[in-house]
Symmetry: C2
């Protein structure tokens, strides 16, 4: 009998478990059968690609990378516009809203995250989490006269939406908390570089403690947002509003079935990505992606990561372990390592930010003393094409001088540098080792002394 | 009294020792004084930039990054068109060809490398090692009708010259030994990708054991090259010839003064870059750059590296150690690590190659059994600008599965990836760790599953 794998949720997390297992299906004696249940009607949508669609790089439907039929054709019971209402762990089954019950050999919980925002009845106020949201926003931009926009949220999606609006000539205001942009990835001095660049592109940022106190409309459509109270009150015109606040893990199903939820609100897993119940791992039940909490690779504390890259890395581990379990080959077993959050984002206007490890603030919060070094330099000699400037900040443990964080703002080479620093953090490289490291050189591609060396040197000089 | 530092040679190696020490001059009680002696009349020339000048990216004089006056203005006794004829280690002095003797506290030998080729009396036959060579070649191209070219040498400079000629519409033949291009950096299957691409651009490669048997001329200028003997003989028309063969360390001065020369022909140093005499380190005499031999980071055997990046890394170490010695601060001491040869080159025609660690052949030659994995993939989704293809080969120790080499051919992101793999090799990352690693993601900048993961997976599947 083929083994039944049931996947709850069809975002990048669930889909990558499915894709990995599909690719190894033939290696399994007796075979595997897959059921994936998701609320949306789409197949696999690259939600990270949606802000680029809004910027007009391509049509929104381009972000649906695989249609449901793609999976159906491979024998997957791919159920869209459906929902699991109960995980019956004692009976190894899940119950759908239709009442149907599906028995599993392996269960994968990939329920993602949800936004915890009060709804408003006005039209023109949107969230920006999925294809449906993107279509609504795109539709509003195309059918109405949108001159002003208001965005709540200073995270990646907030900034990418703001950049998209600015490119369309819309006067846009972004409201976020203090003190700076992307505070979970960038120190205030690095966030300030992005703020300054985006302000030059005409964006307005309000980074203080004020919250939205009212959303006003006219004929059922939003016309302005009021922030703050009393003398701090301000009314900001807005023909469109996007609420891109922090998202919380969607864990209702897991919680109801008694699965352990961590202090961050995410599902707790072991390194194999098994969920736990009463602190004991359940060997046939996995969780993956935004609904889980991970362990920070520097502070060793639980945190939410909520990046597609995390989901993809976890999905590989889960596929390995299901395969290892079915085939009885322990050599296939893998584990998800403590997370150092390598991240990169094209913010718009040619600006790219990258970050990995901890920020100074996060390190200090965890009781880790830090030193840091910073440098700005062209990535190659001025007379070569693509010689853009890059600002780099490196954060080291003050005692060991080992790298624990890196932040960059620039235009190019940042994604690859984030991956280099991810390896360097894992390897425990010190400031002196980074400064003395031999780096490859070709004058049309690099500097003889890279900005990394300057930043590491700067950190050493600060001690 | 200021400490006297004498530097013999003004290539990138000597100049970077000088630049590093100049930057820290004020930290030294009593100060430092510098004398640099070089044969050429230029200041600091980026020889790596010369092939790009030949491709017309900029004028040749652009490659002189600092003129002699730049150093003279900083109080350096910067002597061009001069030559050291003797190192008088017993008397802590050097003798110039003028007979003048200069006493040193610290001596830095940066004599570089030389070409060991028979000279021909014909005009139109050039080497390509320095600015003078570049000017002569440029001059020939501008003043004569050059329709055909012949290049001896399948290394970086040979290929870059060939690409420059091809861009100018010159029918070019490249002669190199078997079996493939850039064999010290790339396995034959990876070299073949470059060969194929360059052949499409109209270049002809002859990669066999034949050597040049005659160079024929007309009115004193070259007109053809004859290769091979008897029935293998072939005459190839050539209005210009470049001999870009392997270079040997320039060690005559060192050898004459009794400094140890290694089995590769380079000057032996310890990790601090001190030269050795009778296997004992000389604490005030350093060697740097192409004239030295390094220890390979994988095979632990001596080798010649002859890359500007190696010279720059060694120069940092020497500056640190001179400073440490003068100030009596042992904390400043640094060491040059065994070399894993991170290298990258823009070959021309948009093609970039990168390499780090050992090739399969070099590993096998050192008795190391290997496994390898290979993959070709776009660096980002097809509908984003700059979505070019990259072929990656990863080489692992067959027993430990640790990464010992990486090779790439593509158009972008290669320099940064070489640096990532340089860190990964030092960190001893395994194939499984590379495959499971979390990498940063933004759809406009990367794939959710990078080519690295595919290549590592491919290697694991091969076992």
């Amino acid at each position: 009998m083929p083994k039944e794998v049931v996947i709850v949720g069809g975002g990048v997390a669930g889909v990558f478990v499915l894709r990995n297992l599909l690719a190894t299906k033939d290696e399994v004696p007796g075979g595997m059968h897959f059921t994936l249940i998701k609320r949306e009607k789409s197949g696999w949508v690259s939600t990270c690609g949606l802000p680029f669609a809004l910027r007009g790089w391509y049509e929104i439907d381009r972000t649906e990378i695989n249609k449901p039929q793609f999976f159906l054709d491979q024998g997957v019971d791919f159920r869209t516009e459906n929902e699991v209402t109960k995980l019956n762990l004692g009976k190894n089954s899940v119950v759908l809203k239709t009442g149907e019950e599906i028995t599993y050999d392996y269960l994968v919980i990939a329920t993602g995250r949800k936004q915890s925002v009060k709804e408003t009845k006005l039209d023109g106020v949107f969230t920006f989490n999925n294809e449906e949201d993107a279509c609504k926003i795109e539709d509003a931009l195309n059918t109405r006269e949108v001159k002003t926009a208001f965005i709540r949220g200073r995270g990646i999606i907030g900034l990418q939406s703001a950049a998209a609006f600015a490119e369309r000539g819309i006067k846009t205001t972004v409201l976020g908390g203090p003190p700076s942009l992307l505070p979970s990835s960038l120190d205030p001095d690095m966030g300030a570089i992005i703020k300054e660049r985006m302000e030059k592109a005409g964006l307005r940022f309000i980074l203080d403690r004020r919250e939205i106190t009212a959303i006003r409309g006219k004929e059922g459509w939003v016309k302005s947002v009021v922030i703050g109270e009393k003398e701090e009150k301000e009314e900001i015109p807005a023909d469109i509003v996007i609420i891109g606040k922090w998202m919380v893990p969607e864990t209702d199903l897991a919680k109801d079935s008694g699965i352990d939820i961590g202090e961050t609100g995410g599902i707790v897993t072991d390194r194999a990505m098994h969920v736990e119940k009463g602190r004991r791992s359940l060997n046939t039940v996995y969780a993956v992606g935004d609904c889980t909490e991970v362990v920070d690779g520097i502070s060793h504390r639980p945190k939410l990561n909520q990046l597609a890259s995390t989901a993809v890395a976890q999905a590989r581990v889960i596929a390995d372990n299901i395969l290892s379990d079915i085939t009885g080959q322990p050599g296939l077993y893998s584990s998800y390592e403590p997370c150092i959050s390598p991240s990169v984002a094209d913010i718009g206007g040619g600006l790219v930010m990258g970050s990995v490890g901890v920020t100074t603030n996060a390190a200090n919060h965890a009781g880790i003393k830090t030193i840091s070094g910073k440098a700005t330099k062209l990535i190659k000699a001025r007379y070569f094409p693509g010689a853009t400037s890059l600002t780099m900040k490196l954060i080291f443990d003050a005692f060991t001088k080992r790298l624990i964080g890196a932040q960059m703002v620039g235009e190019a080479t940042i994604a690859e540098r984030v991956n280099e620093f991810a390896v360097a953090i894992r390897a425990g490289m010190t400031a002196a080792e980074l400064r003395n490291m031999e780096r490859c050189f070709d004058p049309s591609l690099a500097q003889l002394e890279d900005v990394t060396i300057d930043a590491a040197k700067n950190a050493l000089e600060s001690t």
